[in-house]
């Protein structure tokens, strides 16, 4: 068995140190080592997008990355969105309002892909959402409500532009 590697990774603003086997996928590291079960594992071969997380702010599939590869990097998962007191992030609020989920399996990946999109395009049009999130599959909603939710999130976020994520509050 190849020897384990020591990694330091910042997940949702918290620094973690761990010994990982090289073959440990980031998705399994997040769920099984760190206990962050919000990241869902669907196909485990890069097709469905359910495990989408942000690495250094860019959306990527956690099942196509080894945990050793995020050594020294920062990762955001869906757990970074809501505040500690349970207040939903505007993106989550919008998904609730617009019925952007049914079974919820794809939702964590959808939310993270939407987070990336809204960071660069705060008021996306439906076609922008469809382009940016084409790599995230949903088997329930037919996508209509997901697209509406992301557009609505843009409205909510530009209205409440004073909203700060928990991480930003800590930094401030």
């Amino acid at each position: 068995m190849p020897e384990k590697t020591h990694i330091t990774v910042t997940v949702n603003g918290t620094q973690h140190e761990a010994l990982v086997e090289p073959r440990t996928l980031l998705s399994d590291f997040l769920r099984d080592t760190l206990g962050l079960k919000g990241t869902h594992v669907g196909c485990e071969q890069g097709v469905c997008g359910a495990c989408t997380v942000l690495v250094e702010g860019g959306s990527t599939r956690a099942c196509l990355l080894f945990a050793v590869q995020v050594n020294g990097r920062s990762v955001e998962t869906v757990e970074s969105l809501a505040r500690a007191d349970g207040t939903l992030h505007p993106i989550q609020q919008a998904f609730t309002e617009c019925h952007g989920l049914q079974c919820g399996f794809c939702t964590a990946g959808m939310l993270m892909a939407a987070t990336e999109l809204l960071a660069v395009n705060p008021t996306p049009q439906p076609e922008d959402v469809r382009f940016a999130m084409s790599g995230n599959l949903c088997r329930c909603t037919g996508y209509q409500n997901i697209v509406e939710s992301v557009c609505r999130a843009g409205e909510l976020m530009s209205r409440a532009h004073t909203y700060a994520t928990p991480e930003q509050e800590v930094r401030a």
Binding site: R23, L25, G46, S59, T60, R61, F66, V68, Q69, N71
Partner: protein, 295 residues
């Protein structure tokens, strides 16, 4: 499924990469974006004993537009390339083809050179590279060699790279923009999937308005992307015409014997090769003529 165990090497320099490859050869795979390789490892279709991770080799993350060519390093992400002014200006076909690869969250990690080396017979970037007369720079402890794209692609997922070599960069001649146009067209079953057929075309118009330097490459119609040399020759020196384009498209598909699968029959692929070649040439010529801006 989970990947089989492997030894992991985080390389920091190109020299370290070639040293490791010299040591492990066929047992090793290069890990760049991992968007194809890790998928194969998760399903155990690939079981490398050693993974040489080049993500820490900063010198490979570069786009360079000097000396009349566009150079893309082994670590340049597809998304970076597709949005790069250097690539859009000097090799717009590569940018247009790149935007059709998978989905944004795959392209934010996947690399241009990785896609070329993975050599899927339908993948957009290898097809575009072939049409651009691109080159692959292969390095090993034995030195460096430059491989023309046409000699690089051998068969499905097979290239002429030796086990101890890795592709440090690709190079394409940069367009000077004057009366040069290109286009990439494809048909895929679903957005973001590999095309059932894809066509890359690039043309230049001389001072007299005649076609020169016509290059056409087709993907997903053989074990590797292929050039349509007869079709290219039929147009070279001619004034652009609908009949000439139609004849070139017919020639482009004439010798093809594409495979059949659940995405399309051989006959359907052949039909697509004709239609897409016709449209790609028409668009490339219109762009060369200043009718439409490049991608």
């Amino acid at each position: 499924m989970k990947p089989a165990p492997f030894a992991y090497v985080a390389a920091r320099t190109t020299d370290e990469v070639v040293d490791q490859l010299a040591r492990h050869g066929q047992d090793a795979r290069i890990l760049a974006g991992g968007q194809s390789l890790v998928r194969l490892m998760n399903t155990r279709l690939a079981v490398p004993a050693v993974l040489i991770d080049i993500n820490g080799v900063g010198e490979l993350d570069r786009i360079d537009g000097r000396d009349g060519r566009v150079v893309i390093g082994a670590l340049t992400r597809q998304r970076t390339s597709e949005l790069s002014d250097v690539v859009r200006g000097g090799a717009p076909l590569l940018a247009e083809a790149g935007a059709l690869v998978a989905h944004p969250s795959v392209r934010s990690r996947g690399t241009v050179v990785g896609s070329v080396c993975f050599a899927d017979p339908g993948a957009e970037l290898p097809t575009a590279l072939l049409a651009l007369d691109g080159e692959i720079v292969a390095r090993s402890v034995r030195g460096e060699r430059v491989v023309p794209a046409d000699d690089f692609f051998v068969d499905a997922n097979e290239t002429s790279l030796e086990p101890d070599e890795f592709a440090v960069e690709i190079r394409v001649p940069a367009t000077d923009g004057a009366r040069v146009g290109s286009a990439f067209l494809e048909l895929s079953r679903r957005h973001g999937e590999l095309p059932v057929c894809g066509v890359a075309a690039t043309v230049a118009l001389d001072d007299a308005g005649r076609l020169s330097d016509v290059r056409i490459a087709l993907g997903s119609v053989a074990g590797r992307p292929v050039r349509a040399r007869q079709a290219e020759a039929s147009l070279t020196g001619a004034r652009p015409s609908a009949d000439g384009i139609a004849e070139a498209a017919r020639l482009a598909a004439a010798d093809l014997t594409p495979h059949s699968n659940s995405h399309g029959s051989s006959a359907y692929r052949k039909h697509l090769a004709i239609v897409l070649t016709q449209r790609a040439l028409t668009r490339a010529i219109a762009r060369a003529d200043g009718g439409q801006p490049d991608a």
